[in-house]
């Protein structure tokens, strides 16, 4: 089993006077067998972290290893880590097949893998076309095909859902789930909460280069969102009074429904049964990952609109 391990990983950019810390003392482990979502706003340090893992950037201090080894010491690295960093990295006048062929050749990967991954990524029919004619979605698929080339136990994908159409996103989700199911380590970054919650079992949340959370997706939602209940009742006046007595505000939500803040369905059900208030409908409102994320980042008060995104490194578009 191959894990990605980050230990006190720190990367600073800039001159001595204006140092920007893109990655700040990051310590965590990306485990195999699950999809880990790497979440954070643009400029939070996700891409920088991935470049540090691949040895493209050098850390100011700390280490990043894959399966206990420095990436740059791997003999055939594409057979260990498949990475998608930038959808535009294929040369525009090279064909998709030639792009994969030179990568395969450099790592002694058999040429038949090129056609296999083209097929798997759904771009076999355009393999002979120059990539300048590709849409963003097709470029992403080519980048994912390149990541799969060496059949690696670790996949590290930076914003792989960017530019994919809904069908493409469903494909990506199935692919990543399957790869994780095969026991591989899958790290996927995103700045979009909804697409991440649809794929990831586990989350690493980054803000200004710091690790804000390293937690399961559902636990993250539970932990970072106050409970809310939607209820339809025959006697809203009495229910509101008894909820207010317990410190929960009840507001009309339209269509005869009400929401109770801070309460669970269990709690509201028990109260109404005890007091004989008729309840016609009762549902826990599960907070979305987006809500949880905003709650977390609001709490750490780091992303106020006024503060400029100073953590963006010069190479990070």
């Amino acid at each position: 089993m191959t894990t990605i391990e980050l230990t006190a990983l720190t990367k600073e950019y800039g001159s001595r006077r204006t140092v920007t810390r893109a990655v700040d003392d990051l310590t965590c482990t990306v485990e195999p067998g699950r999809v880990t979502g790497f979440l954070g706003p643009n400029g939070a340090g996700k891409s920088t972290t991935m470049r540090l893992v691949l040895g493209l950037d050098r850390p100011t201090c700390g280490t990043a290893t894959v399966g206990g080894r420095d990436y740059t010491t791997l003999g055939s690295p594409l057979r260990t880590v498949g990475a998608l960093l930038d959808a535009h990295s294929a040369h525009p006048s090279r064909t998709a097949r030639d792009h994969l062929r030179h990568l395969a050749a450099s790592n002694r990967i058999p040429a038949r893998r090129v056609d296999e991954v083209l097929e798997e990524a759904g771009i076999a029919s355009v393999a002979g076309r120059r990539t300048r004619t590709f849409s963003l979605g097709m470029r992403q698929r080519l980048g994912i095909a390149a990541a799969l080339l060496g059949d690696p136990p670790v996949l590290m994908l930076d914003e792989p859902a960017n530019g994919l159409d809904p069908e493409g996103f469903v494909w990506l989700r199935r692919l990543l789930r399957r790869l994780a199911g095969e026991g591989r380590t899958v790290l996927m970054s995103s700045h979009l909460m909804n697409e991440t919650s649809a794929v990831a079992d586990h989350l690493l949340v980054l803000g200004r280069g710091r690790l804000l959370a390293d937690v399961g997706t559902s636990a993250f939602i539970d932990r970072n969102s106050a409970p809310r209940v939607q209820v339809r009742t025959g006697d809203p006046v009495r229910l509101r009074a008894s909820m207010a007595a317990r410190g929960h505000a009840m507001r009309e939500a339209g269509g005869g429904r009400w929401t109770v803040e801070g309460a669970t369905a269990e709690e509201v059900g028990a109260v109404s049964a005890r007091e004989g208030i008729p309840v016609l409908e009762l549902t826990d409102l599960r907070a979305s990952l987006e809500d949880a994320y905003l709650a977390l980042t609001a709490a750490s008060a780091q992303f106020a609109a006024a503060s400029p995104p100073t953590t963006t490194s010069p190479q990070e578009a």
């Binding site: 470049r51 791997l74 003999g75 690295p77 006048s93 790592n107 136990p153």
Partner: protein, 250 residues
Amino acid sequence: MPVASIPSVAPVLRSEWIKIRTVRASWGSLLAILLVTTALTVLTYSTVGEAEAADGGQQVKEAFYPLNFAQVAALAYGATAVASEYREGALRVSLAAVPRRGLLYWSKTAVIAVTALLVCVPTTFATFLVGQAFLGGHAIGLDHPGVLRACAGGAVYLVLMTLFAAGLTFLLRSAVGALGILVPFVLVGSFVLGDAAGGIGAYLPDRAGSHFFRETPPGPLGPWEGLGVTALWAAAALAAGWWAVRRRDA
């Protein structure tokens, strides 16, 4: 996962060869060294060649006059072959596949050198033979003193200029940047500086190498020393490029 730890050069050389062959700009500028030079040879020698030859002068030097154009094509090849790594995130993909920077850098340099040599040898011979075909009675043969030396040395000189441009492109991360310095330097600067600065001018990369094409070298350098000086320039550019690639974040 069975992962070999020993880096092997052959797969990386093969990969770099595929890279050059599959981008039209680099492949095209390689062939342009031969095609453009031969075309310009035909153009100049069929029009003014015989009249110039009748005036006398240094026959060997004049026979290889079109290599002035070949060297610009060689610079363009060196620059474009490297610059394809600096489009968007291409270098990151290359370094993710071959994270040992020295292995990637010197493999690419070696493939550029070998491909350039394979094209530059026919280029110098074609220039000489095609040019002389238009000179009628004034023509000289391959057995004329200094001609074979100029054919061989001229090819090596063109390869060195290719590597000079390659190294500078690694340093500047842009073909436009590298050619923007080198082409005016070779086409204009060297003529002006070379004549004005006297002795020092002979040590400029193109001036030093051009001693090869004269029966009697004009300056302090002999033909082989001149080529050596050009080689030092190329080595300096490659060293600077290597320093930049090794040191920089990709």
